[in-house]
Symmetry: C2
Subunit: 163 residues, 2 copies
């Protein structure tokens, strides 16, 4: 199973792709989509949407995993983040790929074992689990983390079904 994690953002959208077979989770690719800062919001959003469609079409994942958004107390940032998240979700649906969502807390628990893990702990665990030569870019690492969370959760579900 190929899992495609996305960490949407208006300035930087990270993505991370893992393949899992049974208990093994391997790294496939990761990267960031960075629209030029000089573009208008609409063109940036279109860029994120069309780049994601290109990458999704190339890797043909079985599922897209995104973090449920931690809605901070700033409605303005929630709106801007929502715009990027909207085009990311639409890109997955445009490719006919189902989307699963995991809370930030669950991602942290799944990777490090507790829900208050720091960003650095997540990055270092992503690097270790996927045997990466170096820590991935912050947004790509977050995308890999949510993809790994789905791999773990999916394995648990399969196990539960077998019991």
């Amino acid at each position: 199973m190929i899992i495609f994690g996305i960490d949407p953002g208006s300035r930087v959208t990270g993505y991370g792709i893992v393949a899992c077979e049974g208990a093994r989770v391997g790294h496939v690719d990761n990267g960031v989509i960075v629209p030029s800062a000089s573009l208008s919001s609409a063109v940036k959003l279109h860029f994120i949407h069309s780049e994601l469609i290109k990458i999704l079409s190339h890797f043909k994942p079985d599922v897209v995993a995104v973090e449920e958004v931690f809605v901070a107390n700033n409605p303005r940032s929630a709106l801007v983040l929502g715009q990027a998240r909207g085009v990311a979700l639409a890109a997955a649906a445009a490719c006919g790929i189902p989307v699963v969502e995991y809370s930030t807390r669950l991602v942290k628990q799944s990777l490090v074992g507790y829900g208050n893990a720091s960003k650095e702990q997540i990055q270092s665990m992503v690097k270790r689990l996927l045997k990466l030569p170096q820590v991935a870019a912050s947004d790509a690492s977050d995308a890999l983390a949510v993809a790994i969370t789905h791999a773990h959760s999916h394995r648990l579900q399969i196990r539960t079904n077998l019991l």
Copy 2:
């Protein structure tokens, strides 16, 4: 000039198209895009995006006008609205159409003459200005209102340039 107004929303996205020539603003079309409530968020967003692209490709407007969002004090709604707004902006950019934004206050001022006009006053003024046989659906009426605002603002700009 053909102006395409959009009032994005996750449940209902309204659109309204007007044509303007000099001081005259005429109604072209209006409607609403309503994804089935049973669909996932991602598929709803893709539906809004692809329907808008179809309609934009059909009417080939010169410009897309949207309201700047009044960010309420609820970050959760801001996020959900942001997602719909994101795909609407991306759809305009996908068609290569520039996007202009107007504050709610300016839309109300432009149509009714003061910034605190009620929704009903706006709807009734849209109906009157465009000589519609009946009041358009609420979201379509809001989309027509922002399109008319751009027509008024554009005319003022042309006048200013001529002075």
